[in-house]
């Protein structure tokens, strides 16, 4: 009897599995999709000196519902050289950051994954240690290292490797150093997770069939980690496009990335609709790599089965 009742209740209650999956999705729905919809809605409105500083797109007057969608902001965002320049520059910086992260991160991941198991966790821990401090503090700390009288220049001058201080800060060098430093773990964690579970017997087999270690790397390790490489690169690339803080603090005044443009539109010009349109356009821009990422993830899951 009681089992019957529990059974009936359990029948219409979502299963534990659904519930567990639902939690992050609900979170994303409430805190990402709803605000994003609000932003999209603003992008179709017009500027107005009021609180909030835009016209409502939905208007009910005399029982008539009017929806006014202004596409003009998108047109200006997609044609204005300022915005186009900022988009292109953002993509350039994100691409270069991703590439440098890969160059630095892949060998490091490979070596950690092949290190003695007792060392592995320690090395990964060392990689993540800086993340125990605040993001802003870490970015600011780079100023102390990079400025003309900073640690790096002092050491180089002292060692007589350079005659005058290198300009490493408030230009593209500073920007890239900060970007690579900050995004490196996002690349390394998934890549390491892939490399560490790779079957090393395959490398022994390759060696036994006549492949020197570097040949085994190029023919076995690298092709097998291709998907993990692309996935972790996208994990760097996608957020790097919209990065605001690092170019603001370490980059030069000419490094106008799209995040900075949006900030200016929102808070300096108080032009929320254009800023929203710029945001919408950026998301559209990133949908392509995101879709690619999703596809790779799915393939990876299928391959793992």
């Amino acid at each position: 009897m009681s089992r019957n009742v529990t059974g009936r209740i359990a029948g219409w209650l979502p299963s534990g599995r659904t519930l567990v999956i639902a939690v992050p999705f609900t979170f994303l729905l409430v805190f990402f999709m709803v605000p994003f919809a609000a932003v999209l809605q603003i992008s179709f409105a017009d500027v107005q000196l009021s609180v909030p500083p835009y016209t409502p797109i939905l208007d009910v007057k005399n029982g008539i519902v009017r929806i006014v969608l202004d596409f003009d902001h998108y047109r200006s965002v997609l044609t204005d050289p300022l915005y186009i320049g900022a988009y292109v520059y953002s993509l350039e910086v994100a691409t270069l950051t991703t590439f440098l992260c890969l160059i630095v991160g892949y060998p490091a991941c490979y070596l950690i994954a092949r290190a003695d198991p007792s060392w592995r966790n320690l090395l990964m821990m060392a990689l993540l240690l800086p993340f125990w401090t605040s993001y802003l503090i870490r970015v600011y700390a780079w100023i102390g290292l990079l400025k003309s009288q900073g640690l790096i220049n002092d050491v180089l001058l002292w060692a007589h490797l350079i005659d005058e201080p290198l300009k490493l800060y408030h230009n593209n060098w500073g920007l890239l150093i900060g970007m690579v430093y900050n995004y490196l773990p996002y690349l390394m964690l998934p890549l390491y997770a892939h490399l560490v579970k790779m079957d090393t017997t395959l490398l022994e087999a390759a060696g036994n069939l006549g492949a020197r270690p570097w040949q085994a790397f190029l023919t076995i390790t690298l092709p097998m980690s291709r998907r993990a490489i692309v996935a972790s690169c996208l994990l760097v690339f996608i957020p790097a496009v919209g990065e605001y803080v690092i170019p603001e603090i370490l980059g030069g005044s000419n490094s106008l990335m799209i995040g900075r443009v949006m900030w200016d539109d929102f808070f300096v010009n108080t032009d929320w609709p254009v800023a929203s349109a710029a945001t919408g356009a950026m998301v559209l821009l990133l949908l392509l790599p995101m879709a690619w990422f999703q596809r790779l993830q799915r393939r990876e899951m299928e391959a793992a089965r």
């Binding site: 390759a206 036994n208 006549g210 492949a211």
Partner: protein
């Protein structure tokens, strides 16, 4: 199923080169553990040699040393006159079929088979030809474009075999080739694999923990225990005349007796478990009081309901357990001393008994002096 009769006879294993592969005093330690403890072996050209032992006996380590995947602490490994001890694996004329097969998952069957030849820098046409021939040899030609995960375990094994054979190694190493297969197809595969290896004529070292596999496939085998070789011989030599307790117990099952030599140069051993002495075929070249192990195979014992008409080599007891095993029936007989003896009786021997055997029946066991094997250690 293929049977013994259809097995192609390989040319008498090159008597001209009795030491084609030589392993000399090889030692390998991992930390405190000695995995291989001074092993020496000689393997003839074209021979299929099995290293038999339970897990952790060092047989796989020995195989890895031969493949060049590990380096011995001391000792030498010589293949066809060439000392390969310090040669990296990619320069050895030795190929290995891994226990897990280690097929490259991102390559097709063809790509896997061609991998080793590409590393040799051979021409495309020659690679294609040799790969096709190797895949045909293992009957995997029509699966050339499949990926490993689309193949069954048996098919993966054959691809792994083709991949290691295509390099025409001087020595082929097989690490537990059957362990990843279902028991059902294992026996069939043993004969198939044996046939392929015989037809190619490659010198082969097989590592296994399965005595049946070693006896089915190998020309000669070495029984290993704790990093040492206990006995080397043909399967029937090792079975019929084991020299040590380990070999006797590991290959087949046996009844072991602790015997004390009754007199100088005697043929009689006193045994605490038995009422009468054990008598062996030949006088021992030893003094009285020598303590030795004696082995008596269960299928070499005669069982009867009438007392044996001999002075030595008999015992009386009651049937404690028996099990019908198909081709034979296994009896456990409890002796008056408390000792349990295993006896295998063929179907006809069971029929020839005076009564239908059942639990508790008093029976008499006897055996010939030639069935007792004296073990060295």
């Amino acid at each position: 199923m293929t049977n013994e009769a259809t097995r192609p006879q390989r040319p008498p294993a090159g008597k001209s080169q009795p030491d084609f592969v030589q392993i000399v005093d090889v030692v390998k330690t991992f930390g405190d553990a000695t995995a291989v403890d001074g092993v020496s072996l000689s393997i003839r050209k074209g021979e299929l040699f099995a290293l038999l032992g339970s897990s952790g006996c060092g047989k796989s380590t020995l195989l890895r040393l031969m493949a060049g995947l590990d380096t011995p602490d001391s000792g030498r490994i010589i293949v066809d006159g060439q000392d390969v001890t310090r040669l990296p694996t990619y320069q050895r004329p030795v190929n290995m079929m891994f226990q897990s097969y280690a097929l490259f998952p991102h390559m097709t069957v063809e790509g896997n088979a061609a991998y080793g030849l590409k590393r040799e820098g051979l021409g495309k046409a020659e690679i294609r030809e040799r790969v096709a021939a190797a895949l045909d040899l293992v009957q995997m030609g029509k699966y050339a474009l499949r990926k490993p995960h689309q193949l069954s375990g048996g098919q993966q094994q054959r691809v792994a075999l083709a991949r290691s054979l295509v390099k025409r190694p001087k020595l082929l190493l097989l690490d537990e080739p059957m362990s990843a297969l279902d028991k059902k197809i294992r026996q069939e595969t043993q004969f198939e694999l044996g046939n392929i290896l015989y037809s190619v004529g490659v010198t082969c070292i097989l590592v296994t923990h399965d005595q049946e596999e070693a006896m089915t496939m190998a020309d000669r085998l070495a029984v290993m225990n704790e990093g040492r070789i206990m006995q080397v011989g043909t399967p029937d030599e090792v079975y019929e005349s084991p020299t040590c307790r380990f070999a006797a117990e590991f290959i087949g099952s046996t009844n072991l007796f602790r015997g004390v030599l009754a007199g100088d140069e005697s043929r009689l051993f006193r045994c605490a478990d038995l009422d009468v002495p054990l008598q062996v075929q030949n006088p021992m070249n030893a003094r009285a009081g020598l303590e030795l192990q004696l082995s008596l195979r269960p299928e070499r014992i005669t069982m009867s309901y009438r007392p044996a008409q001999q002075e030595t080599n008999h015992a009386a007891g009651s049937i404690e357990q028996f099990a019908y095993m198909g081709s034979y029936t296994l009896f456990y007989i409890r002796l008056a001393s408390g000792r349990l003896m295993a006896v295998d009786l063929s179907r006809s021997a069971v029929r020839a008994l005076e009564r239908s055997p059942d639990y508790g029946h008093q029976v008499y066991l006897s055996w010939g002096a030639d069935q007792l094997v004296v073990l060295d250690k």
